[in-house]
């Protein structure tokens, strides 16, 4: 066998199933530390305002039940679903589960260590990530290969079809919002279509540019 270059080896490593555990570890550490940054400096949480508000409510009142219940429910469902589908949803599992739910559980228990400094936050986040990634890979190994293969073609076909809807939806949304953004999206999409560029980009840029000038 010929010797592989480092790049080829690294490419192969990045495609290994078990490398997933490392990716979840990194992502979870980052998102958990983002929450640490938010608690300490008031900026940096990786979530929507309404969900972050559940955590801030808890920090004010000391009652974390809303954040903990909502977010850990999401986390458990996503961990079960991820390995069956082959795609773990990072919104429910990591951003909401690890970013909001688990911090809420720790804070309600009065466990301050994860938020005492940046490195402890990174460390605790990484451990949470390894655990989640590990559970998902274990479930994946228990459910044997070949199980999912039959449905893949159908799902990938549907997934690809979804993308085509985005450009028309953006033009409709722009038209409903304001006459200038609507005209901009229309012109941008029409030109991009004519130039055989992706219409989505034209619609967004057109709406932004005309909106910025006239609104």
């Amino acid at each position: 066998m010929e010797k592989k270059t480092f790049t080829e080896k690294f490419d192969a490593f990045m495609m290994k199933d078990s490398t997933f555990i490392l990716l979840v570890m990194g992502a979870a550490a980052a998102i958990f530390s983002g929450t640490y940054l938010f608690i300490k400096f008031g900026t940096g949480a990786f979530n929507e305002i309404s969900i972050v508000a559940m955590l801030t409510d808890g920090m004010g009142s000391g009652d974390y039940a809303a954040a903990a219940g909502f977010a850990t429910g999401f986390l458990i469902a996503r961990i079960l679903e991820g390995p069956l589908v082959g795609l773990m949803d990072i919104g429910g599992s990591l951003m909401t589960g690890v970013g909001i739910g688990i911090p809420a559980v720790f804070l309600s228990m009065g466990w301050k260590f994860p938020f005492s400094n940046f490195f402890s936050a990174l460390l605790v986040g990484a451990i949470i990530g390894i655990t989640i990634g590990g559970i998902i890979i274990i479930i994946r190994k228990i459910v044997p290969d070949g199980m999912a293969v039959g449905g893949t073609g159908i799902m990938m076909g549907a997934g690809n079809a979804v993308g085509r809807y985005l450009a028309p939806l953006i033009i409709i949304a722009a038209a409903q919002y304001n006459v200038y953004t609507g005209i901009g999206a229309l012109i941008g999409a029409a030109f991009f279509y004519k130039w055989e560029k992706e219409m989505t980009g034209g619609a967004i840029l057109g709406a932004m540019i005309l909106g910025a000038i006239f609104l």
Binding site: G34, F46, L87, N160, A212
Partner: protein
């Protein structure tokens, strides 16, 4: 201030790199375990390897994320769902238009993602107020409804029709689980996807097969768990 910048750089590089690599693996799912979201996959396919489309899609969400960061310190889920994957893709596609060699490659996406993640997170945590409010407002009012519709009801309808077109067994499982999923979780897509998996497996191996039975059992337990945690049973009162 310096502490925020350093922490943001570490967080952005680490998270951006891992998420971008996970996004590249989505194009190989379910052969390898990926992470991301079906909507991210659909949106990245919508931009179909055009760097301008990937960039402007990410840019729109960058504006709305900036508004949220200024208002409440919440960077929004868009940073990792949309901005990092799409800008990473755009940066790779400028040099090489072949998606199989760029966007589908987890190593290249990880490197691009960590650079972009670091820059985006530092910017949002320190300089978000520099983005004019007007641009954020336009982005929110145009992109939020459009992507909202895409997630529900466009995606469920497309997946549903795909399940129905794949034959009686798949169609029936997709319909039943899709409906249950819409009831308990608010979106039918996870149920339809699982219905396709179960339906295809049952079609190929029969219901006597141990693994088909286990799969059905796991899915039932999962939906009961989701229903419980999301307070579905309380709705009957």
């Amino acid at each position: 201030m310096l502490e925020i910048i350093i922490c943001s750089m570490v967080i952005g590089a680490l998270g951006g790199g891992c998420i971008a690599a996970g996004a590249a693996r989505m194009f190989h799912a379910p052969k390898v375990q990926a992470m991301g979201a079906f909507r991210t996959l659909g949106e990245m396919n919508a931009c179909s390897g055009d760097p301008i489309a990937h960039f402007s899609f990410g840019l729109g969400f960058f504006f709305s994320a900036a508004a949220s960061a200024v208002a409440a310190g919440a960077l929004t889920g868009e940073v990792l769902h949309r901005i990092v994957p799409n800008w990473s893709a755009a940066s790779l596609l400028v040099k090489n238009k072949n998606v199989e060699e760029t966007v589908w490659n987890p190593r290249k996406m990880m490197m691009a993602g960590s650079v972009i993640g670091a820059v985006v997170v530092v910017f949002l945590n320190t300089m978000a107020q520099l983005i004019p409010e007007k641009l954020s407002l336009i982005a929110q009012n145009v992109l939020t409804p459009a992507t909202g519709w895409l997630i529900n009801p466009v995606m469920p309808a497309i997946f549903w029709l795909a399940a129905i077109d794949a034959g009686k067994v798949v169609g029936l499982w997709g319909t039943v689980l899709g409906g249950i999923s819409a009831l308990v979780s608010g979106n039918a897509v996870p149920g339809i996807v699982l219905g396709i998996l179960i339906g295809k497996s049952a079609e190929e191996n029969g219901y006597k097969n141990k693994m088909v039975q286990i799969l059905i059992a796991i899915v039932i337990v999962m939906f009961i768990a989701i229903a419980y945690f999301r307070g579905f049973f309380g709705k009957f009162v």
